[in-house]
Symmetry: C2
Subunit: 165 residues, 2 copies
DNA sequence: CGCTTCTTTCAGAAATTTGTGAAGTTAAGG
DNA sequence: CCTTAACTTCACAAATTTCTGAAAGAAGCG
């Protein structure tokens, strides 16, 4: 690392990572702006950026930042901070908060389970279709329990390897 | 259950389940037509329908069926069958095949891991951002291993409760 | 209270996605 | 081979989504 680079960040390298990781998130179904904003926060030095910084770095309007951040906050993937006595907001990824959120398909899972249970009732538990749907439901019930155990194991694993970082 | 209903399926009840479950899949990011086709197959008596039957039941064009089925086959959520000596194709959900597919975010996971690894390299493993991204990567590496173990447990659980159905 | 700074909301232009009809392709069966 | 039944591809119209500039809304600070 040259002296000129020390303590400095290569804006080009950051941007390339931001765009390529965001592209993967988009491919997996996330909207474009939330994906870019999230990737930008993830690759920021402090893990937190202001609206203006995000707009500048990603070349998007304040409106776009606002929409993206609202979405991410709803999904519990970032949190909003406000330095006391300032109008300026800061958006932050907590190292641990966001992958809790990613496995927190809980809301999705719950709705699927509800819809499937309803299907079993409608079609009749003793019909072929009813049985097929009941098995699908059993799968999601199973998954539901497993995921929370998995996250417990991850927390232990993480603490061991990364400390309470 | 009245005599008239015995052995018969209430088309209205089926349709209501199809549309409501499909809506949940759409909300979770799946495209509309694949979601409807999939829900229709899931709630069919035999677990398999022809293109014409799907078009009729869902009121969609052959082109729409074709597109939806191509997508579902790529995702390994349905398989195509052809009765020998017929031009007519049949699309089937195998009870076990498709939830294997649903947890098979493997392709997605792999791409995320690749993008994150690249990010650590670009930003530097010893920078704050690099460390944050490395931890995220560690999470996905962990998840990757856990999911296959979870599916092993599911198969055991399933066999116990449903037999080899 | 009013000025200033930041964020949010909103209407609309632009881009993208979706589903169709119609033409094209494949393969069975005479 | 030719016909015909079935599936696929393609261009386009319609619907939806996305992002912006502009206006409106909040909140610190004098």
């Amino acid at each position: 690392m040259t002296e000129a680079m020390a303590g400095r960040r290569d804006a080009g390298a950051v941007s390339e990572f931001v765009e390529s990781f965001a592209a993967q998130l988009v491919e997996a179904g996330m909207q474009r702006m939330p994906a870019r904003v999230f990737a930008a926060l993830l690759s920021s030095d402090t893990g937190a950026l202001t609206s203006a910084e995000l707009g500048e770095q990603l070349q998007i309007s304040p409106a776009a930042v606002s929409g993206a951040v609202r979405y991410l906050a709803q999904q519990h993937m970032v949190s909003r901070e406000r330095e006391p006595g300032s109008r300026r907001e800061r958006y932050r990824v907590h190292s641990d908060q966001w992958y809790e959120a990613i496995t927190n398909r809980e809301a999705v899972l719950k709705r699927w389970q509800y819809a499937l249970r309803d299907g079993v009732d409608r079609l009749g538990a003793e019909t072929p279709a009813g049985r097929r749907i009941a098995e699908t439901l059993a799968f999601f019930d199973f998954i539901d329990g497993e995921i929370s155990q998995m996250m417990d194991r991850w927390r232990a694993h993480r603490e061991k390897h990364f400390g309470n970082g």
